[in-house]
Amino acid sequence: MNTLQVLHDDFSHWKCTQCNEQLVFTAVELVYLESKFSVELPTCPACGYVLIPESLATSKMAEVEQLLEDK
């Protein structure tokens, strides 16, 4: 599976509060209605907490959800 690059901003100022680690881009799986994608997202390297920023959720992700729903 190709890993998609969807975010291009810098997320180095984000931290995981529990682990006190800086978020780093990591390949994460997104699943919806029997479809899977591998996407690079800012993630806590210790506990795996993944950040989905608002802009991603309301634009790209919403579009893909819609497409999959109409499949």
Binding site: V28, L41, A57, E65, Q66
Partner: protein, 760 residues
């Protein structure tokens, strides 16, 4: 949907039927397109329209006597469109003849005996189809030439030459049987020659004679020029079919003039007089104006009156096909999902359509099929169905009258009135208990309409089963329905439960003394669920009259009322279109009077849907029960100014009402264990996003609880704000917040349906 069902649906919509002029014209000229091009001054394009469907257009366009004018819908609105003059203007002024391209030769030959219009027309049509015609006549043009301008005649001759039409001046043959052996078909094109040969016309439709390859015009033949041209066309078609050895009769019902089913609404069309032609015919400007009088007849009556049908830019015949194709897709994108889920299921189309096309049935069945095949997009109705589930659990209340063990009546306010105006449920219930002698229970539950509209048959059934059980437990009371949708759902889904509308009961027991004296008059909005409930509409009007409130009826009311934008769960499946629909209804209501009047309605949902457009709207109960109750978040304000109830408030109102009534009416305060949960506040932006993104305060509470329990979140060191998420079921909710002394301030919220599988 099966293919034959699609055919039935398609056949019901007449939008693609020919306009009456075209149906009446023996050659079925596309009058609409011709007029459109002429009106736009596109003479050559108009000429191409004639060229396509007229045999020997240079002649025909100059001698047509306008049979179409008999049926033109302009006839009584200023006079039929003057097609003969327009056609000859077009023929004289076109500067480009479309190319004449006969089909490849089929190696067949037809002998046409006799000249004149029928012969020439038959020859033209046959030659175009690759069958070689020979006209046997010395006077082929005798009755035509004098009526045709010289230039047109020259052009006609050139075209006939290109087509390869042959003329012969040989003697008329004597032995018909013998000629038949030499030619593939023989046409007797004039009455005189028809009379001369020993054969008999046996089928006036196909013009076949007792000799199978001989076709003839009738004898005697009384026909106008255009009819003679049409006879020629029929001769040619029959000859072609007999040569190809296919059915002579199949599919020829609409060959001559016929009655079209197309119905065009002309009641709002104003009269416009026909433009006279001078001795030389029309000049360009007059021709354009005359052509511009064409109404461009079409049906589209449903589309012109339904925001939804207009939104998808087509009409029901086409929608039926889209829906059929949508279901047939195995791989690929289903383009019609949104369309199927956007119908308000209000049934106005069926009332308006001259053929009773019920788009709501088409769409509801399609939804039920999608649910059954698991192709219904989860996002379309999930929010509304969750709301229904809430109304039927936490928000549900079913009690007999205090100290009664069974109820004779039970007030059934539905699920929206308790959510939007809980104080009106309280006052109405109290009033009913005071006014009716037998015990009146209270039954707050959703009627199942959302499940029904979502195409969820199982869920609908489960809901009605619950209602039935509860109703039996309460001693089978007569239900007094407060919501018009509930009333229609009960009639359809639970006919065994006796119901009466609140309005009928109020009319009977008398109105409360303390009605609010409203400013008048009002525009009355009938909810679309009352379309077929004439009694309910009458009871409402009777109450209004008793109150001495004067009302205006809008253009579309009663049987023809429009949906407020909520029906069919449109607001869930397509919020943007839902807004448009509300706006459209508000505008119809505004348009019926000169000065803005407030709207009066009797459905809680309609009230909120119209109010969100800015239209001042009140519920009839607002007039009947002006008493305010602060405990039920009623603020005693002018009811027309009360803002629309948000999604979270609706839920909280239900709970508040339930607790309040349990305490005040039944004296059984539910022990609400208030834990020391952190307080949550919202910025204005967050609150607005929650409403738009349909995220509830209870969803946010779940994220906060999760943060409290796990202590996990993310932190943005630049903004100094935290972000956290939680996924209760099918949706992940995100909050952006700051925390101060255990109090959460929510700055933003968003959500998505995709699930995140974190790295191992």
């Amino acid at each position: 949907m099966e293919q034959h069902e699609l055919r039935q649906w398609e056949a019901q919509c007449t939008q693609e039927d020919a306009p009456h002029c075209q149906a009446q014209c023996p050659l079925h000229i596309d009058v609409r397109t011709f007029c459109k091009k002429m009106a736009a001054g596109k003479i050559n394009e108009a000429w191409a329209v004639l060229y396509k469907s007229m045999p020997m257009p240079h002649i025909t366009a100059n001698i047509c006597n306008g049979l179409c004018m008999e049926t033109c819908l302009r006839k009584d609105l200023g006079g039929s469109i003057n097609m003969p003059e327009l056609e000859s203007y077009c023929a004289a002024n076109a500067t480009k003849n479309p190319p004449v391209r006969p089909l490849p030769s089929k190696g067949k030959r037809v002998l046409i005996i006799g000249g004149g219009l029928s012969a020439l027309a038959a020859a033209w049509d046959l030659a175009k189809k690759g069958i070689s015609p020979t006209i046997l006549s010395t006077e082929a043009y005798d009755d035509v030439a004098s009526n045709i301008p010289e230039k047109a005649f020259e052009q006609h001759e050139q075209a006939m030459k290109k087509l390869g039409v042959l003329f012969s001046s040989e003697e008329l043959p004597e032995d018909l049987a013998e000629i038949c052996t030499k030619w593939d078909a023989v046409l007797l094109a004039t009455s005189e020659v028809a009379n001369q040969y020993p054969c008999e016309l046996i089928n006036p439709k196909t013009l076949q004679t007792n000799i199978s390859s001989v076709f003839t015009v009738p004898f005697p033949c009384i026909a106008t020029s255009i009819e003679r041209i049409a006879l020629g066309r029929t001769l040619a078609l029959s000859a072609e079919r007999s040569i190809q050895n296919v059915s002579l009769t199949a599919g020829r019902d609409t060959e001559g003039p016929y009655q079209s089913r197309l119905q065009t609404a002309v009641s709002s069309v104003s009269s416009l007089p026909r433009l006279p032609a001078g001795d030389e015919g029309y000049d360009e400007a007059t021709a354009m104006l005359e052509a511009g009088r064409c109404l461009q007849c079409e049906c589209m009556q449903c589309v012109n009156n339904c925001v939804y049908l207009a939104e998808f830019k087509s009409y029901p015949k086409v929608y039926a096909r889209h829906i059929y194709n949508n279901a047939a897709i195995v791989m690929g994108t289903r383009h019609a999902n949104k369309m199927i889920n956007s119908c308000m299921l209000c049934g106005l189309c069926e009332e308006i359509c001259p053929e009773d096309f019920a788009v709501q049935n088409l769409c509801l069945t399609a939804r039920q099929e999608m649910v059954a095949d698991s192709t219904m997009p989860p996002s379309a109705h999930e929010f509304a169905l969750r709301d229904m589930a809430f109304a039927n659990t936490a928000g549900m209340l079913a009690k007999n009258a205090p100290s009664a063990s069974a109820s004779t009546y039970a007030f059934f306010p539905g699920c929206q009135l308790p959510a939007i105006s809980p104080h009106l449920v309280e006052s109405t219930y109290n009033y009913l208990r005071d006014s009716l002698e037998e015990p009146v229970g209270l039954f707050i539950h959703c009627c199942g309409a959302p499940a029904h509209w979502a195409g969820q048959k199982d869920l609908t059934e489960a809901t009605t089963r619950q209602i039935l059980q509860q109703w039996e437990i309460m001693g089978k009371p007569e239900l007094i329905t407060g919501c018009p949708t509930c009333a229609s759902m009960f009639a359809e889904l639970l006919p065994q439960i006796p119901t009466r509308s609140l309005w009928e009961v109020l009319e009977e027991v008398g109105l409360p003394a303390k009605a609010r004296m409203p400013q008048q008059p009002y525009v009355l909005h009938d909810p679309c669920s009352t379309r077929h409930d004439e009694p309910m509409r009458a009871h409402v009007r009777a109450i209004i009259e008793k109150l001495a409130v004067s009302i205006t009826e809008p253009r579309l009311s009663g049987l023809l009322t429009e949906c407020c934008g909520f029906g069919g769960l449109l607001d869930s499946a397509n919020p943007e279109l839902s807004r448009k629909a509300s706006q459209h209804r508000a505008e119809t209501l505004s348009a019926c009077t000169e000065d803005e009047q407030d709207v009066l309605t009797y459905c809680a949902m309609c009230r909120d849907m119209l109010a969100r457009t800015g239209k001042r709207t009140i519920h009839l109960l607002d007039i009947l029960f002006p008493n305010c109750n602060a405990a039920l978040s009623c603020c005693d304000a002018d009811p027309a100014t009360i803002p629309v109830t948000g999604f979270s408030d609706r839920r909280e109102n239900r709970i508040r009402l339930k607790e309040h009534l349990l305490t005040t009416v039944w004296g059984e305060a539910e022990s609400v264990t208030k834990e020391n949960a952190p307080t949550i506040t919202y910025t204005e932006q967050a609150a607005a996003n929650m409403e738009e993104r349909r995220i509830l305060r209870s969803d946010i509470r779940k994220v906060v609880d999760y943060v409290e329990a796990t202590n996990s979140s993310l932190f943005n060191t630049q903004t100094q704000r935290n972000v956290a998420s939680f996924r209760p079921v099918g949706v992940t909710y995100w909050i952006e917040y700051t925390k101060d002394n255990d109090a959460y301030c929510i700055h933003n919220v968003w959500s998505h349906r995709m699930q995140i599988i974190p790295p191992k």
